[in-house]
Structures are given as structure tokens and as C-alpha cells.
């Protein structure tokens, strides 16, 4: 092995990176800014529900129920009307989320024996939030009802629910490990993809290939400096998670850092492979961006649970590196588990790193034409 040549090459790469201050700043700051920005912005809790009331015969009873909604602070009444015609335009223009429709006989029935009828219409175009709206609305009505029927002999089973590992279902705790995974894979894959395809496009790659450097060394020289850079990104992102969002670190931080390096290696190798297989910077970037951004966001379990996906899609998620890293990161941060439990995910990532690196090296063999 020609170590001096390798050293010279790594130094050259470092010079490239360090000389371009602007890009360097972007590379160091971007992941941090993104983790903080999205950590604050990404939440799925519903705090403000806009309600329309259709009450053909306003009465103490109907007004009482309405005031129950208002007193929760979560509901806001944005429109009141006599007829259901008001609902459709409100929903279409996204001015209301829920409509509460009282039966004309609601109040009289409530005092009598016949059932008093109430219709809840929700804008379910977003099924997830729609279901949440419905649950909150139902809860208010049920509480009201329980009060009315206090003393009757209903059986109640009280369920004490414990959300283990994240008792308050804090969005930040769920999204931050995923965000770190997403930002890391994107930055790493893009960085190497563009740096290599640039050398290819400018013809400097040929010079490297005819030099005494071996293809492996070229790859190592390319990957090593970015590994350092990506590690800096990991550190700042984790620091932000801990200091800004108070995400718990129940397990070993050292293990988490090691796993991050492994994961970054996979991402970097992916970038090298993309650069090797594409003809221009433009194509390399398009591929890297398309191949990493949405799949790592959507097929990784970061936002949508893997368990919800159709069975045939599961094998596809296996090739998404973030899918494995998120399990590891959540495991270490939220559950405090170690390699004893995470060995399988770690093994998969190691295999991926190895496979991708070998594939990348092969694709860079100097070719005789």
C-alpha cells in the first residue's frame, strides 16, 4: 500500500473542502439548522379545532353543549347557522374542521325519552387529523352525557394507558432521531456524489486513475474527509437534540456515535456509487436527491409506521438505510438499550456499508478502452 500517496490525496481533498469556506459553512450549519427548525415545526398534535354549528332551534340545552366545547380551549366556533348548507363551503375553503349538527328536536328529546340526535361531520380529507378531530369531539359529548346520566348503572372499565419510552408522545422525541437520520444520509450521499462526479466531469478523475493510487485509495481518500465532516454534523445535531429539545439519552452515547459513523459510511458509499454510475454532475445529483430524500423520509418509519405499510412493501424498506438507523437511534435514545438488542440492525448496516463500498470500488476500476 502506498500510504504517502494516500496521505497526499486525503490532504488534497481536505484542501478542497476547507478552501471553499462558503460551502463548508453551509455543510456544517445546514444539518444543525434543519434539525432545530424541523424539530420545532414538525408536530402532529391538534391544538386548534375550528367548529361550525348547525343549530336549527337554539335552546339552553344546545347552547350548553356548545359552551362545553368552548371551555376546552381546543375548540373554536367559527360559524353558526340554521341549515347544513353552511358546511360544504366552509370545508371546501378549509375554514372549518368539524361541524356539529343538532337535530331540530334535540332539546325537546333530551328532556323526553326519545334519543336526542346529533351529527358530527368532519373534514376527513386528512384521515389522520380527521380521526383526531372526531375523537376530541366525541370526548366532549361523552363527558356531557356522563354528567347527564350520572347515577345510572353503567359499567366502566378505566384504562390506565402508559406510553412507554415517550410518555407524553412528545413529537420532538419521535421526529428528532428520524430527522438526524434523514439529514445525515442526504448530506453525506450528496457530498460524495457531487465531489466525485465533479472530478469526472472536469477530467481530473482520469489523472487520478492513471496515478499510482489504487481505486480503493481514491475512494478512501474521497470518503475519509467527508466522514470527518459528517461526524461533526452528527455531534452538532445530537447536541441540539439534547440541549434544545431535551430528547432523552437513556443509552450509551458512545454506542450512538459509533452507530452514526457506520450509518454515515453507508450514506457516503451510496454517494460514491451514484457518482460512478452517472455521466454528469447533473445526473448524479438528481439521482442522489431522488434516491435519498423521499424514500428515507417515507420508507424509514420516521413519519409513517413501518407496521402500517402493506406487506409487499416491507422488503423495499429493508434497503433503506435510515430504516435501520432510526430503530437504533430510537432504541439508544428513548429505550436505553444496547447492542444486545440492536445487533441485528447494526449487522444490516455493516453489511450495507461493506457491500456499497466494494461496489463503489469496483465501479471505479480504471477501464481500458
Amino acid at each position: 500500500m502506498n500510504l504517502n500517496a494516500l496521505r497526499a490525496f486525503v490532504v488534497k481533498e481536505l484542501h478542497h473542502i476547507l478552501r471553499d469556506r462558503q460551502t463548508l459553512t453551509v455543510l456544517l450549519m445546514m444539518p444543525l439548522v434543519q434539525v432545530i427548525l424541523f424539530g420545532y415545526a414538525l408536530r402532529s398534535d391538534v391544538r386548534d379545532i375550528r367548529m361550525a354549528i348547525v343549530d336549527p332551534t337554539p335552546d339552553n340545552a344546545t347552547l350548553e353543549l356548545q359552551s362545553r366545547f368552548l371551555s376546552t380551549m381546543r375548540f373554536r366556533i367559527v360559524a353558526t347557522g340554521q341549515s347544513t348548507d353552511i358546511i360544504e363551503p366552509l370545508f371546501r375553503r378549509d375554514k372549518a374542521d368539524v361541524a356539529l349538527v343538532f337535530d331540530p328536536d334535540f332539546a325537546s328529546h333530551l328532556r323526553g325519552t326519545e334519543p336526542a340526535r346529533l351529527l358530527i361531520a368532519i373534514d376527513a380529507s386528512d384521515p389522520n387529523t380527521g380521526t383526531t378531530y372526531l375523537n376530541y369531539t366525541r370526548a366532549v359529548i361523552q363527558a356531557y352525557q356522563a354528567e347527564l346520566s350520572a347515577g345510572s348503572n353503567q359499567v366502566r372499565i378505566v384504562t390506565e394507558t402508559r406510553m412507554r419510552f415517550n410518555p407524553t408522545l412528545e413529537s420532538v422525541n419521535l421526529f428528532v432521531p428520524g430527522l438526524i437520520a434523514l439529514v445525515l444520509v442526504l448530506v453525506s450521499a450528496l457530498m460524495t456524489a457531487i465531489s466525485l462526479s465533479r472530478e469526472k466531469e472536469r477530467g481530473t478523475m482520469e489523472v487520478l486513475l492513471v496515478s499510482p493510487l489504487r481505486p480503493q485509495q481514491i475512494i478512501v481518500g474521497k470518503v475519509l474527509p467527508y466522514l470527518v465532516l459528517a461526524f461533526a454534523n452528527v455531534l452538532t445535531a445530537l447536541l441540539a437534540a439534547w440541549a434544545v429539545f431535551h430528547v432523552p439519552f437513556r443509552g450509551s452515547v458512545v454506542l450512538l456515535l459509533l452507530e452514526s459513523i457506520l450509518y454515515t459510511l453507508v450514506s457516503l458509499a451510496l454517494g460514491v456509487l451514484v457518482a460512478a454510475k452517472t455521466a454528469s454532475q447533473r445526473a448524479a445529483m438528481l439521482t442522489a436527491m431522488l434516491a435519498t430524500m423521499l424514500p428515507n423520509a417515507l420508507l424509514s418509519g420516521m413519519i409513517f409506521p413501518i407496521a402500517s405499510m402493506p406487506r409487499w412493501l416491507l422488503p423495499v424498506t429493508y434497503v433503506v438505510p435510515a430504516r435501520w438507523f432510526i430503530v437504533i437511534a430510537r432504541g439508544i435514545m428513548l429505550k436505553g438499550v444496547g447492542l444486545g438488542i440492536l445487533w441485528r440492525e447494526t449487522l444490516v448496516l455493516s453489511a450495507m456499508a461493506l457491500l456499497l463500498l466494494v461496489a463503489a470500488m469496483r465501479s471505479f476500476k480504471p477501464r481500458m478502452e
Binding site: 424541523f38 408536530r43 375553503r93 386528512d126 359499567v155 423520509a297 405499510m309 432504541g331 428513548l334
Partner: protein, 370 residues
């Protein structure tokens, strides 16, 4: 006008000459739409349940049976030990632990009140929330059933509540997500292509050559905009076909309105790309700037988490996100049958974005060439 024709021919030739890129441009987003459209759902079909039953009564077995019968839960293990259950959860072998204390049946018969414990793996918060609501429904129904058994003549509920989910009665998440993912894919492809384009000519040196010709700035920009605008619209058409015939996304509103809005939106999205391209010196820089912007667009567009759940400052920021507006329009028109008047405001905002971005791009290009 004639000059524009020649320039357009050149741009199209250059795009279509790179076979691999064209394939990628047209195929990859469609493949992704097919995969991702299926992935984007919060619906949890079956959760694995571990049962710690210390009561061993008819009541506790009844509850477990109801859980299993709902098909929402699959009992994967049972033992009287909570420690074993916890370990299972730590190893991700179970999603839910149902813990029933020793005197559930006795309590219910005596006091009509019983207590049980439900432990969920909240490592995956979205799934945990959904699973919890399923369990709560089953438990509630079971309690009513028990009540009816114990005292058959109890008067019914005083209020009868019916609920109806409009626009998506089956609560199919794909109807909601597929249009949004499509917008995102078209945006990534379009903006990135546009952002790389001018700076590429800058790097290759051909931009200098064009700059000494009598070519006007707006003709130049039009020639850069139109090809990607056409490609993105083709992409959108393919995507909408997939949405319609593969995902059966309802299309209540006017398709012409969708395309009208898309035409405006794409001017904004591509204009931003072109502006970036005039601003930077290398493709590398173009790439990182675009990447950052697209990432913000993507995650703050309401595609994954509702914009209205964001903190106020983030909601305010989202107003400056054209992707958010276009996703809103797509969802409103396709799922709710919104009319042009309903979506006039977001379309207006997009038009403003388009004009501003293009003006900036032309001005910056003008400044660069002297």
C-alpha cells in the same frame, strides 16, 4: 420569437440527448409515487399484543377474545409476569401490553368499575396513538356489553351521536397523501433541473458565448423555463394517471383547474430554481442551496404533519412555501371538489411567487452578464 424557437430546440435536444437522465426524469418519480403512495399511511392493521392476565376470569378472557376477534390485535404471548412482557417490548417483539389485575371481575360485579392497564410502545408515536384509540373502542364496547348483561333494562344513552367523515369516508390515507407526494416529486425534479441548468453553462463556458450575442435576457430566461415547465407538466400528468388508476384517488373537482394551478405553480417552482442558478457559481453550490430549500419546502409543506399543528412562527413561514399552497390546492380540488373561487387565494399567492422569482432571476442574470 423566432430566436426563442431555436433556443428551445437546443434545450430540448440537450435534455433528451442524455438518455439516462430522461429515463430518470420520467420514470423514477413514477416508481417512487407507486412505492411511497403505499407507504404513507398511519393506519395500523394489526398490532402485536402481549397479555398479562392475573385475573383469569370469564371477564378477562372475554376482553382478550374481543381484542383478538377485532383483528386489530394479535395476541403473540401471554404470561403472568410483567417483567417478561416488558422485555418483549424492549426487543420489539410486541407493540402493546394488556395487563389485567387479579380482581377485575370482582370489582366490576361489586362496584361496576374496573381498571386495567394498557402499555404501548411509544417509540413509534404515530402508531401508538392509533393503536390506543382502537383499544379504547374495543374496551368501551366491551364495557357496554357487560353493563347490558348485568342490568339489561338500563335506559339507553340520552344522546345518540352519529359521525360522518366527509370527502374520505373510508379514511383512506392514500387519497390524501398521493396528490401531495406527486407535488413533491414534480417539485424536486423541476427545481433541481432548473437550478443546475444556467450554472452548468456558466461552468462550461457557453454562457459567456451566449452573453456576447444580441440575445435578450427575457428570451434567454423563457428558453430556460419552458422545457422544464413542459417536462414537469408531463410528469404531473403521468402522476395523476397513476393516482387515478392505481390508487383510485377520487377526482371530484375540475382537472382543468388542477392543470391551471400547476401551470402557475411550476413557474414559481422553476423560477426559484433559475434564480438559484443565476446566483451561484458552481453546480455544487446550486445543488446545496436547492437541497436546503427543497428540504424546508418538503417538511414544512403540510405533506407529513399538518401545517396547523406547527407553532405560529412556522405557520407564518409556511405562507412563503409555494409547495404548501399547491398541495393545498391539489387536495382541495381533487378530494373536495373545490371551485376556482375556493382556491383563488392560494393560486394568487403562487402567481405572485412566480412573477417575483422570474423577475429576480432575469435581473440577477442581467447583472451577471454586465
Amino acid at each position: 420569437m423566432q430566436t426563442l424557437r431555436y433556443l428551445l430546440r437546443k434545450e430540448f435536444l440537450q435534455v433528451f440527448r442524455d438518455r439516462m437522465m430522461v429515463t430518470q426524469l420520467l420514470l423514477m418519480p413514477i416508481i417512487q409515487l407507486l412505492l411511497l403512495g403505499n407507504a404513507a399511511t398511519f393506519e395500523v392493521k394489526t398490532s402485536r399484543m402481549y397479555v398479562v392476565d392475573r385475573d383469569h376470569s370469564e371477564t378477562s378472557r372475554g376482553l382478550i377474545d374481543r381484542m383478538q376477534a377485532s383483528r386489530r390485535f394479535n395476541v403473540v404471548g401471554a404470561s403472568p409476569s410483567m417483567d417478561v412482557a416488558n422485555d418483549w417490548m424492549l426487543r420489539r417483539k410486541t407493540d402493546v401490553i394488556l395487563s389485567i389485575p387479579a380482581d377485575l371481575e370482582r370489582d366490576i360485579v361489586r362496584t361496576r368499575n374496573g381498571a386495567i392497564q394498557l402499555v404501548l410502545n411509544a417509540e413509534d408515536g404515530a402508531a401508538a396513538g392509533v393503536t390506543q384509540s382502537y383499544a379504547a373502542q374495543i374496551i368501551g364496547a366491551y364495557a357496554n356489553e357487560l353493563g347490558a348483561e348485568l342490568m339489561p333494562k338500563v335506559s339507553g344513552h340520552p344522546i345518540e351521536v352519529r359521525a360522518r367523515g366527509w370527502y374520505n369516508p373510508d379514511l383512506d390515507y392514500r387519497d390524501y397523501m398521493v396528490p401531495g407526494i406527486l407535488v413533491q416529486l414534480v417539485t424536486v425534479v423541476g427545481t433541481l433541473m432548473a437550478a443546475m441548468n444556467i450554472v452548468r453553462e456558466k461552468e462550461l463556458g457557453t454562457l459567456d458565448q451566449l452573453s456576447v450575442t444580441p440575445l435578450s435576457q427575457s428570451t434567454f430566461m423563457a428558453a430556460k423555463l419552458i422545457p422544464f415547465w413542459v417536462i414537469a407538466l408531463v410528469e404531473l400528468t403521468l402522476g395523476l394517471l397513476v393516482a387515478r388508476f392505481v390508487f383510485h384517488v377520487p377526482m371530484l373537482g375540475s382537472i382543468a383547474l388542477v392543470f391551471g394551478a400547476a401551470a402557475v405553480y411550476l413557474i414559481a417552482a422553476l423560477g426559484i430554481g433559475l434564480f438559484i442558478s443565476t446566483l451561484v457559481d458552481t453546480q455544487q453550490q446550486a445543488m446545496f442551496v436547492t437541497f436546503f430549500i427543497i428540504m424546508v419546502y418538503l417538511l414544512m409543506s403540510g405533506l407529513f404533519t399538518p401545517v396547523r399543528s406547527m407553532p405560529d412562527w412556522a405557520q407564518w413561514m409556511a405562507q412563503f412555501n409555494p409547495v404548501k399552497h399547491f398541495i393545498e390546492i391539489m387536495r382541495a380540488v381533487l378530494l373536495k371538489g373545490a371551485t376556482p373561487r375556493d382556491v383563488a387565494r392560494p393560486i394568487g399567492i403562487l402567481a405572485v411567487f412566480g412573477v417575483v422569482a422570474l423577475t429576480l432571476a432575469i435581473r440577477e442574470y442581467g447583472r451577471r452578464i454586465g
